[in-house]
Structures are given as C-alpha cells and as structure tokens.
Amino acid sequence: MQVSELDSHVWTASPARQAMRILVIEDDREAASWLVKGLAEAGHIADHAADGEEGLGLALEAVHDVLIVDRMLPKVDGLTIIRKLRDANIQTPVLILSALADVDERVKGLRAGGDDYLGKPYAFAELIARVENLGSRVKDAPQSTRLKAADLEIDLLTRTVTRAGKPILLQPREFKLLEYLVRNAGHIVTRTMLLENVWDYHFDPQTNVIDVHISRLRAKIDKGHDEPILQTVRGAGYMIRDK
C-alpha cells in the first residue's frame, strides 16, 4: 500500500488554496509579528491590531474571513470583542488564542461566541489548520445529506460509504472520523482537532492513538486504489484529497 506523506512546510506554501483575509488581535507584538508572517507565508493576508479597542473597530468592518483573538488584551478583552461582534450580528468565525487553556475556560470562550479555542503555546501547524478549517466553514452552510471528496462518497442518512462506487464497511467511530475528515476535505486536520471533534477529548493522550485509527481507516478506504485519498501531512496532521 502506498502511503502518501506531504510535508507541511511545502504544503502551507502551496498557492492552490484560496487566500483568506485574517485579523490578528494580539497585544504581544513579537508573537503577533511571527503569526502575521506565518499566515502570509501560508498565502493569506493578515492584519494586526495591538489592543482590544483597535481590534473591535477593525472586526466591526466585517471584511475578514477569520479573526484570531487573544483573550487578555488591553482596553477591551477578547471575550467582550466577540460578544460585541455577535451582538452586532457579525458572524465572522473566531479562533480564540489564550494562555487560559483549561476546559472550563474553553467553554467560557465558546459560550461568548468563539468558534474554536487554542491554548498557548501552540504549534503553528495546529493554528493554521484550525484557521483554514474556520475559513472554509462558512461556505458549506446548506446541510447536505451527502458528502463527496474526489471519488469518495458518504451518505449521511444511510451511513454508507463508497469509493469509486464500491461500498466500504466502516465501524461507527471510523465513520465519524471519515465524516469529519471529508467535511474538511482539502484542509489539514490535526490530531488534536480529531480528538476534540471525533472523540470530544480536550487533552492529548501520551501515545499517538490517533495515528493507529487513521492507518486503520486508510487501510479500508485506500486499499486497492492507486491514488491514496487520505494523506499524512508531516508535522501537521492529515488531509482528505478533495480532487
């Protein structure tokens, strides 16, 4: 079996994906400058606001695809920014970045209207994967009962999977795993994102249990096909090819 492995550094520099306009609201200028630089290298346009007031002003213009918001900010704190945006009916997806990484803090952030939460310090690959996941979320708004990626099809009603027309039998958890990957087809999904969204675990087990699940899934969906659809992105996570 051929296992595809992409390098995240090469991948993130690929110009194939749609560029997003991202607003970074972060008071630590050095951290912000690395973040803006990384986002630019990944092919996105990033604006930076160094305090809550400026950030809220920029976010209210509603021209950004994704907001990256630190929680502890001078003048207006991150959660207040998000609440004010939601009150103004601006639904720009928000990734909350915070050193407050406990589960209950996370719940607070999501309740305030954040869409995803990432604890500091973070791996850049993790951040970009989540930002791109948020940026693509808006587009698949209508609830479809069928998901497609390349020649792979998932019927959510009958819970059946076919590849090139041939049915594939999956365990319930494998189905859930594949569904999440296919919903994010064309985007990197990190191990942490899988743990959070497929297992609802917000901690990292010491062993890489996810890799084993992925390799089992891969054995089922890529077996007998020349072109692997489930790819490993080295240093970042996994991706389902969408074309």
Binding site: V103, P205, V209, V212, H213
Partner: protein
C-alpha cells in the same frame, strides 16, 4: 498607653465587665423578687386585714348603733395584739379605744394614716410606728383602726439590708469570677495567637496548644493543628516537586543547549536544521510536562469541582476503550472492556478519561512481559457502594514497596528511562481521584498491575 487605659481595652476586662453586669442584674432581680414577696406582701396583708376590720365595725355600727361598736372596740382594745383602735366623737374627744387621742388626720372622709406610737414594753417606752385607716361613721363619729407596724418595718429594713449586702457580695464575687474566667479563657486564646505568630515567623512545625479538656477551644486548636499538618505536608510536597521540576526541566534544557552548541560549531546547514527540529521536539515535550503539572495542580487544588456533572461509567469506559483498542491490537495484544449499566459517578468526563488514558498508556508500555503481547482489561463495577474502574495488565507490575511513591510527581521506576514518559501519569490519576473524592489503589494482578479507581457512586436526586 497607660496601664488602666490599656486594661480597659483588653478583652479580659470587657468580658469581665459584661459578666459582672449580667451577674448583677440577675442577682438584683432575684433579690427584688424576694423583697416583693416578703416585705411588700406583708404590708399589703396588713392593710387588707385593717380594711376588713373597718368594714366589719362599720357594719356593726349600722346594725347595732354606737353601743354595738363601742362594745367591740373596747373588747378588742383590751387585747394586746398590736392593734390600735380609736372611736371619737364628732368633735374629736375619745370615746373608746387604746389610743389616747386622735392623731392629726387629713381632711376628707377616709384615708390611710401613719403616726408615731408610744408603746410600753416592760419598763421602757418605745417609739413605734402605727399604720391605720381613718374613717367617718354616719353621725359624725370618727373611727381609726390600725396596727403597730414597727416589726414589719424592721423586718423590711432587715431584708433590704440583706439585699444590699448580698448585692455587694455578688458584685465582688462576680467581678472576681468574671476576671478569673475571662483571664483563663483569654490566656488560651492568647496562647493560640502566640502559636500562630511563631508559625508565621517560619516555624512550620509549631502547633496550637491543646489542653486535653476537649472543649470548644481545644477543638479549635485541634482543627487548626490538622490544617497546619496538611499545609506542612503540602509545602513539603511542593518543595519536593519544585526540586523535581527543576531537575526534570534542566535535563532536556541541557540536551537542547548541547545539541544547539554542537550544531553551531559544525557550521553545516543540515546540522542547524536537525538541531532546530530537535529543539522543537524537546520543547514540545517540555510543554507537555508543564501541561501535565498544571493539570495535576488544578485537579489537586479541586478548582474544577464546580464543573462536575453526572458521568455514565459504561459510556466513559466504552469511549476510552474505543480510542485505545486499535493501539493494543497494533501491538498484537488485546484490550477488553466491560461495565455494568446504569453506573454513574459525579465527575469531570475529560479528567476521568485522561486518567484512564494514562493508565492505559502505562498498561501498553509496561503491561507485557518480554515476548508476550499486552492483555489489558478495563472494567467498571459496583463494589460495596463504590464505583470501581479497574485497568489490569499482565506485565511486571509494581513492587509492593514502590506502590506508595509511584504517584509522586516525576517518579519513574524505569530507572534507565528507555521508554518515553515524564513520570507524571500516575500523579495525574491520583490528583484526578482526589478531585473526585475517590482514590487510586494499586494492586498485584498476579502477575501484572491492577490499577483501581475507587469512586463514590452517584445517584440521581
């Protein structure tokens, strides 16, 4: 501050004063009651008798006229009972009775009068006081009926005097008693204050004095001592943790430094890249260690207790088993799980799952003897009204003497440290158990390790 002023401000004085006031009020009330019941009631009794007699004499006068009453007054005057009588003509001359003449009476028909009375007692004449009722009979005759109340007055005076003395004695005793009692009480409070001061000054092994009387103060001191005991052991643990943290963080940092320095010396781009990648890996591990330490600290501090909910044990076990089963099979082993239905604990699903994954990680790492495949069981059951979740393997196990210390932070029995890990896994499990008011029990699975999470059972309502 001057001496007396200072005394006024002490709690000793205030307590004693309060005690004294309360004591004096109650003694005064008691004695006042006694006085009322004796002297005052006796006087009232006398008045009542006099009035009854006046009534009887008046009635007699109405029925039998002057002669009838004259007779009675003369007869009664002759008896030496301390009673005084006087019947006088309208002009005021004495007609009958044992009073020599009419005492000065106020104007008006009737009234109570008191007047001095000379009494022949043997050879001496005594000045007594008489209390009498003066009334006008129809026809202008005047009638005075009274009693010698000298002995009553004296009796009342004795009682009053007794009361004054009793009050004075009560005040002295009360003041003394109050001072003694409050001094005794406050001396013990002062001793506790003093003990706290020495502890604050750094003598962490200091304890509150306990007298052994098992009163409130003793119980307070005992509770404080228990608290101090716990603080001391926590501080001891903290010290040990800090030094362990320092050691366990220094090691990877030293490695990073050595690696980077070597790369810098080599001047090769490939070496630079390798060193940087290595640095990223090492810092990831350091961050993991920090995160684990924070999780343990949070669990142990019980901060997360607010977010606890009812957690279904069977679901918890099924989810974790689902995550780890492929891993065990990958190693050629097995992970079998089972749990009784309907079992619930009051807890944090994330932390409980994290504790279970730590135990399963250990079971995968250490749960197989050489050449064997890991056989791991994960079970949940109700035992003696406790929910017991067990992770059992067939590996080398943990020697009985080490079972106590493996839950300490950074303790790894694998001295060579050939397997990855930070020595915090079981510490987290034990911290999570503390948060859930449960315990981690390590037992021999003959062979292997049986890790039991014993948790209070949660029932709805």
């Amino acid at each position: 501050m001057t001496g007396p002023l200072k005394l006024l401000r002490t709690s000793t004085f205030r307590l004693a004063a309060l005690y004294l006031i309360l004591f004096a009020i109650s003694v005064a009330a008691l004695l006042g009651y006694v006085y009322w019941n004796t002297a005052v009631l006796l006087q009232e009794q006398t008045d009542y008798t006099i009035q009854a007699e006046v009534q009887a004499l008046s009635d007699q006068y109405q029925l039998r006229g002057l002669n009838g009453i004259l007779d009675t007054v003369q007869r009664r005057s002759a008896d030496d009972t301390g009673a005084v009588y006087l019947l006088a003509a309208p002009a005021g001359q004495r007609i009958a009775g044992n009073l020599d003449d009419l005492p000065t009476v106020p104007k008006g028909d009737t009234s109570w009068i008191e007047f001095p009375l000379d009494v022949q007692n043997g050879a001496t004449r005594e000045n007594h006081v008489a209390r009498a009722y003066y009334t006008d009979l129809p026809g202008g005759f005047k009638l005075i009926v009274g009693r010698d109340v000298e002995s009553l007055r004296q009796f009342a005076a004795i009682i009053r005097q007794t009361i004054y003395y009793a009050l004075a004695i009560a005040l002295v005793l009360g003041l003394g008693g109050g001072l003694l009692m409050s001094r005794n009480f406050l001396r013990r409070v002062d001793a506790i204050t003093e003990a706290s001061r020495t502890i604050m000054a750094g003598n962490m092994s200091g304890r509150m004095p306990v007298t052994g009387s098992n009163d409130e103060l003793d119980r307070l001191a005992l509770a404080l001592n228990e608290m101090l005991e716990q603080i001391e052991s926590l501080m001891g643990a903290m010290k040990e943790v800090s030094s362990n943290v320092a050691h366990d963080l220094k090691t990877p940092l030293t490695r990073i430094k050595a690696r980077v320095e070597a790369a810098l010396r080599s001047g090769s781009e490939a070496e630079y890249r390798a060193a940087l990648e290595n640095t990223v890996d090492e810092s990831d591990r350091l961050l993991d260690t920090f995160n684990a330490l924070l999780s343990i600290a949070r669990a142990e501090a019980g901060q997360a207790r607010g977010g606890l909910v009812a957690v279904d044990v069977a679901e918890l076990i099924a989810d974790v088993a689902d995550l780890y089963e492929p891993m065990a099979e990958e190693e050629g082993g097995t992970l079998t799980s089972s749990a009784g239905p309907g079992l619930q604990v009051f807890g944090d699903r994330q932390l409980l799952a994290q504790a279970l994954t730590n135990l399963l990680d250990n079971a995968l790492k250490y749960g197989a003897r050489d050449g064997e495949k890991p056989r791991i069981t994960l079970t949940g059951a109700l035992e003696d009204d406790k929910v017991v979740i067990t992770v059992a393997d067939h590996g080398e196990g943990i020697p009985a003497e080490d079972r106590g210390r493996v839950t300490e932070r950074f303790v790894r029995l694998d001295e060579s440290r050939t397997k990855p890990g930070n020595g915090l896994g079981l510490s987290l499990v034990s911290g999570v158990m503390k948060l859930h008011k449960g315990s981690l029990v390590l037992e021999d699975n003959v062979p292997g390790l049986k890790a039991r999470l014993v948790l209070p059972v949660w029932r709805e309502g």
